[in-house]
């Protein structure tokens, strides 16, 4: 397999390392900074360095665009334009709506599948790239309405082989979820650091003695400005909406406090504990892999539709395979999920989409 990596920093470099060592792929790389490209070659993250996007993507079956969020729309468009007609082009950006919306009407939208690995945000640079960066990490895949099922399948499997856990999600939901669980905590950290600095007096020499809760809450304040300002900007609608919702919740808390509503505060506090527990402590129930065979029309969007519905239902697709029929108009897709309960749930979800689905006995 030939893979191209455009942008060979932490993420791109790690894709290169993992693709070469785990997939046995031949990896070509491009980076606007020649020193970075040089370093990636030294670290053996690439088989070859290219001095242009078009050179790097030649013959590649998968193209990973691993530039900062602000540079992605142009880079992905260029990659789609320059790459082979059977290449799937993906990215690794932290927001997806703008990118997908901007390109979903282009001629090459069939070959575009957005991506977002949840890994490596803390340390940037090719120096920190490593083969196992994605081991066990969630890797969101964001197909367009028109993404090819064959290409989705190829990308999904490659990403699983890189060590990650791919999960389909639509761009809107992705950005909303990220706004809440990632971008909003950064905004809050910034705001709380500002408020504390103001309260404690800009010109005071007094050092506050702060507890661990303040340290925790402000840990990411002002983190990686080069990356985060772009992320905020590229997810501004969802993020501003999230801020509005938090403001409303804070207002209600202040009201309860001012009203001396001890009962309400106690209830609110109990709910917070339950919410956090539910959000963070639940784990996927694993189990033996179960196979589901789904009969599908072999048209763009089918596999994406199924993957999205399963993603929404929280079903993790551990593996998948496409079996186009001889006429190339119908076919079947096999999905593997972990455990009997998960398999039953997946079957229900897929059946509700109108597809014929049949469980396959283990060993078959």
């Amino acid at each position: 397999m030939r893979i191209a990596v455009l942008g060979v920093g932490l993420i791109g470099g790690s894709v290169g390392l993992a693709a070469r060592r785990r997939l046995g792929a031949e990896v070509a790389g491009f980076d606007p900074h020649s020193a970075t490209l040089e370093r990636a070659l030294e670290r053996e993250a690439l088989d070859a360095g290219s001095d242009s996007v078009s050179d790097a993507v030649r013959g590649a079956e998968i193209v990973f665009c691993a530039a900062p969020v602000g540079a992605l729309p142009a880079l992905v468009a260029e990659a789609l334009e320059a790459s082979d007609e059977h290449a799937v082009v993906t990215d690794v950006g932290s927001t997806k709506r703008g990118l997908i919306a901007g390109l979903s009407d282009t001629a090459d939208a069939e070959r575009l599948i957005g991506g977002h690995p949840l890994a490596g945000a803390e340390t940037a640079g090719i120096e920190h790239a490593r083969t196992d960066l994605f081991e066990g990490a969630r890797w969101y895949l964001v197909p367009t309405q028109r993404s090819s099922g064959l290409l989705y399948d190829r990308l999904h499997r490659a990403i699983a082989e890189l060590g990650a856990r791919p999960l389909a999600i639509d761009a809107e939901t992705h950005d909303q979820v990220m706004a809440t669980v990632s971008h909003l905590p950064h905004v809050i950290a910034n705001v709380l650091a500002g408020e504390a600095a103001a309260t404690l007096g800009e010109d005071s020499e007094r050092l506050p003695d702060v507890g661990p809760s303040f340290r925790d809450t402000t840990r990411v304040a002002g983190a990686n400005p080069g990356i985060w300002v772009d992320i905020f900007a590229s997810n501004r609608e969802a993020l501003a909406g999230g801020i509005d919702a938090v403001v409303e919740r804070l207002r209600r808390a202040a009201e309860m406090l001012r009203a001396g509503d001890a009962e309400g505060l106690a209830e609110w506090h109990r709910e917070a504990m339950a919410n956090r527990r539910r959000l963070l402590e639940t784990e996927l129930v694993g189990g033996e892999l179960r196979q589901l065979r789904v009969s599908v029309e072999n048209r763009p969007g089918t596999v994406a539709e199924i993957a999205l519905a399963l993603g929404r239902a929280g079903v993790n697709i551990e593996d998948m395979a496409l079996y186009p029929a001889a006429d190339m108009r119908t076919g079947a897709v096999s999905l593997w999920v972990a455990g009997a309960d998960e398999a039953e749930r997946a079957a229900r979800v897929v059946a509700e989409l109108g597809y014929t689905v049949s469980p396959v006995a283990a060993g078959e």
Copy 2:
């Protein structure tokens, strides 16, 4: 020295352990739960268990009230009432304004000095008590307008001997600071957990894949309901004010996002980084202890006034001693601070209060 500890959970038990082992004090304890008292005796945190407050405080020179915040006003009042006329009564509650305001007009206000050790919030119970719980921890002391200098001195020294770093602060500032650096992070954690639960759908089975920032920011969501609901309620004015300020800052952030103000966002983000660094990374510059001798009138409030002014200026009093003159109407107080710069600053602050202050050469 005889010490009484009223409430022998984590904090009270640790005071008992440290007072017995470090101060060589004789410690009497009371707790409304006889099993807790029993356990404190087993753990050798006490020399004797009492079945009433009045019994425990008999003959004590220092009385520590270590009950939950909601129970403190009544307990401290009872302790002041029952204790000897030369006993200093203090507490360990997380908020100070309500307690101090409620008792500062009573006959015994001279003997009341509020306290707040920043230690041990995470694990409650006598089981977790330990001799070194306060080692190096900030311990705020909140004198009233009328607190006796002799008693302040006694308490300050005892707390330093427990291993903590006492610092005088007025009740208003204390509660404001705590609202910002401790209570507000808890409110924000609750709110963000609620917002995430709502965004991700109460009935959804999808598990979000959350990054470390979300975990950090919500770590204390719903923490210790028995303690925190009381703390929120007892600091409701400062906390509601802090929430208002955070709401205003969030609104401005949302505005910048909606306006696509990349320049403003970048500036805001840089400031956040600078603020957090300033708040968390600065450390007291240590140095050799320097002594300052201050001539004072020996009247209630003098020592408290000096300690407060130094606290406001960020000067840490490492040690102090009172030298009443023979007529008991004037006297001197010696203060030890770390390092030459700190000593110079302390001298300036004290001089500005109108006192005569003279540095004492090392070894004198």
